[in-house]
Symmetry: C2
Subunit: 468 residues, 2 copies
């Protein structure tokens, strides 16, 4: 990546004023890496625009000079899509306004730098619910979760971020402002341009604000952990739970015993969820607008599941503390691996009906490829999405093991492809997986994406190393 011409740097500084940029290495440092320390980027300049107009001015200058930009929100992405390697870093974190909340429209408009947690809180304050929820929600920003089409724990009921956006405001790659902040539920007047920007990982423009869908606050909620002998049983259980509740399943999260053990070993406060030890666990959460319906539905599901032999143990949370305990066990699955030495991580999806077959086949293949490796699979099985992580054999050479990540990933991803799955279900491609994705995408898909990108960003200044 060539350095930006000094004239461009000077023009950017003048346009944004002293509070709108920094070259201070110490201030910039935290934004050049992320929590896994997998990336260590560099940038000549970090821009900190304070308004959409300032974003537009900055992008226009970069476009005119052919200067590449990496947009960044809360820097919680896991695939390096937000890390500059010589590009100008454009932070949206100063775009902090909740512009409006209109409960009668079940809508609110927030700027890109508002965190996901703050957005949830703004909705709650207006008597509504914003459902997107993920472990990094205190730091992840709305601009980031839109640009990566984030998923999380409530996708089963509410969909991914793509499904939760009514309108978008963005600065296009030439610096023009796209004002698509509609509060409409229906609008069939040409191509839906916001759909292009969602999940584009910053390659088609900078999202500066969005109008989000809100939902009623549900009065009834029931949370349980069940123990199962096989992952196949989990798929049958999911179908039972959907049928019994008619769409009331909000979360359906699978965990393997080994992941539960990691959490028990390394995370203070984590408890055994059941009296017995089981090969597989599922955390089920039901919600309903009807008072008492989630609780009644959970009883029906568990009774039917015991009768059919799908589950062998179960515990329904009796109070908020138990709900938190169950969720803590689930949410710490990733962090609890770290003290075990790290591993090859995968964020894959397959059709729900194929999850158990995929797990069996992939695990057998991994054991052949890397004898002794430990597979910790967990995640949003209700969406067909597993975080499929492979840890170094106990006592193995960690550095050598990590060196085989790419080859090991190909073993896993080839099986994902066999099941018509995705090698990045919710994290995106970023710098990490763009090259590998070419292995699985058709030439037509890649060339169509490239043609669309070229049409919108002819100078390819927006996050040039990311996507095709």
């Amino acid at each position: 990546m060539a350095s930006p011409p000094p004239a461009a740097i000077a023009e950017l500084k003048a346009a944004l004023g002293p509070s709108g940029w920094t070259e201070d290495a110490q201030e910039i440092a935290p934004w050049l890496t992320e929590w896994r320390n997998k990336w260590q980027g560099h940038t000549p300049l970090m821009l900190k625009p304070g308004s959409t107009e300032e974003v537009a001015r900055a992008v226009e200058i970069c476009a005119r000079h052919g200067v590449a930009i990496v947009p960044q929100g809360g820097d919680t992405g896991l695939v390096g899509g937000q890390i500059p390697y010589g590009e100008v870093l454009l932070s949206t974190r100063r775009l902090r306004a909740v512009r409006d909340v209109t409960p009668l429209d079940d809508a609110m408009t927030v700027e890109a730098g508002v965190t996901l947690l703050e957005a949830q809180q703004a909705a709650t304050a207006a008597g509504r619910f914003f459902p997107l929820s993920l472990a990094a929600e205190g730091t992840a920003t709305i601009g980031g979760v839109i640009s990566t089409n984030a998923g999380g724990t409530a996708v089963l009921r509410y969909g991914m971020m793509r499904d939760l956006v009514l309108g978008i405001e963005a600065v296009m790659p030439d610096g023009q402002m796209f004002n698509g902040l509609k509060r409409l539920r229906k609008d069939n007047t040409g191509y839906d341009l916001k759909q292009l920007l969602i999940g584009a990982e910053g390659t088609l423009g900078v999202v500066t604000a969005a109008t989000l869908k809100l939902f009623p606050i549900l009065r009834s909620r029931a949370t349980a952990v069940v123990g199962l002998e096989t992952a196949h049983a989990a798929i049958e259980l999911l179908a039972t739970a959907k049928a019994e509740t008619g769409g009331g399943v909000e979360a359906f999260e699978l965990m393997k015993r080994i992941g539960v053990e990691f959490a028990l070993r390394h995370v203070p406060g984590v408890r055994e969820p059941l009296d017995s030890v089981q090969p597989w666990y599922v955390l089920i959460e039901l919600t309903s607008g009807e008072p008492g319906a989630a609780e009644a539905g959970m009883e029906r599901i568990l009774e039917a599941a015991f009768d059919r032999g799908l589950i062998v143990d179960a515990a329904i949370a009796q109070n908020e503390t138990q709900v938190r305990d169950f969720w803590k066990l689930r949410e710490e699955q990733s962090a609890a691996q770290k003290p075990e030495g790290g591993g090859w991580k995968h964020d894959v999806s397959v059709p729900v009906s194929q999850i158990a077959d995929f797990l069996e086949e992939a695990t057998a293949a991994v054991e052949r490829f890397e004898p002794g490796a430990r597979v910790s699979a967990f995640g949003h099985v209700g969406d067909g999405n597993m975080h499929y992580d492979i840890l170094c054999p106990p006592g193995g050479d960690l550095t050598a093991f990590l060196g085989r990540w790419q080859a090991g990933s190909e073993v896993v991803h080839d099986i994902v492809a066999k099941y018509d799955g995705s090698i990045s279900a919710e994290h995106g491609l970023g710098r990490l997986k763009t090259a590998e994705a070419r292995r699985y995408k058709s030439a037509l898909e890649v060339s169509t994406m490239q043609a669309v990108r070229l049409a919108i960003d002819p100078k390819r200044i927006m996050n040039p190393a990311v996507l095709f």
Copy 2:
């Protein structure tokens, strides 16, 4: 539109064989117009490919010769997007297979020519529910409802067609096959190309098959008609209904007294829905997975609404016959206008909170523009979507009145624009509204759509007169 070169016609005929095309004027005639008789097109050739491969062969030949194509499904579109004026007509009606239904994935894959009703039936046969529903469902095809991003009566709970598609197979404008028939719930590996094809009105390729989302069959359903003094009260009632049921409102359809009168007058079997006569009516339908919950929720809503003075009369359907009667009243709102002499029709949306203000302002403006004109507003008010139809004053000169349609529409649409609304909520732009849409779209939106289209269809052979 220049006639296709004879060599192209010959090549198309040879490629598709005798059952794959027709020049028979009598066979073609019904497909050159639609039920409102607003359009009367013409075509040199109607193609009837029997497989995706045949569609691909036909499009490739057209692309090579620069021959324009209008794709057509069930020919139920209301804006002329499916009517050729010199283009080759490509019918997808012979693509008739239900390729698979996989209940554990809550998914099914059907070809473009399957009707919406047949798709619903295939889902039901597998113990699942496909929610898209609209008056023309016995004739409208899956390819058509995808290409127009159709809405209908269950959008409030399940979304528009865009929200119900997991994967798409299509033939691109150069004849290449795009195989995007995924059964995945989550896939973040680049731009979501299927989102471009949905709602593109056949301008970016021919949809040949799709994988659709299925849902549990809900056990509990309650239907009521209520009478209200104002449209403002309907908006408050909607918020109450959502809060009381936590998302259980499946349909919320507003009707004005005049439309009810038209139906009573002209449609055999339509009955007064209430004992009293009211200025406004809402048909509410609740569904729930919890046995008895919809019925209980309806009681709660109506009680709260009476207490707050939002409604003045109500009738809950006591049996299937009454449910059908209530829906018949709603579904005949459009057809019942025809014997009154036809009118200026509008399919508009505004933010839900603005519906009542919009109705007041637009009706006042229409009365100034066309004294004596009768406004029949009805529709999916839960989505902010109204079919806002203006009928000739009784005894007025119908031909002269219809001649003022465009000027009258501008009066309505300018007020829609003032409320940040859409001039085509669910019908699309087609030939009817493309030119008018330029009045309300920003230059940036139009130029971005044009750039994307040029990138995907550089020869502009796909439905060239439709969209920008």
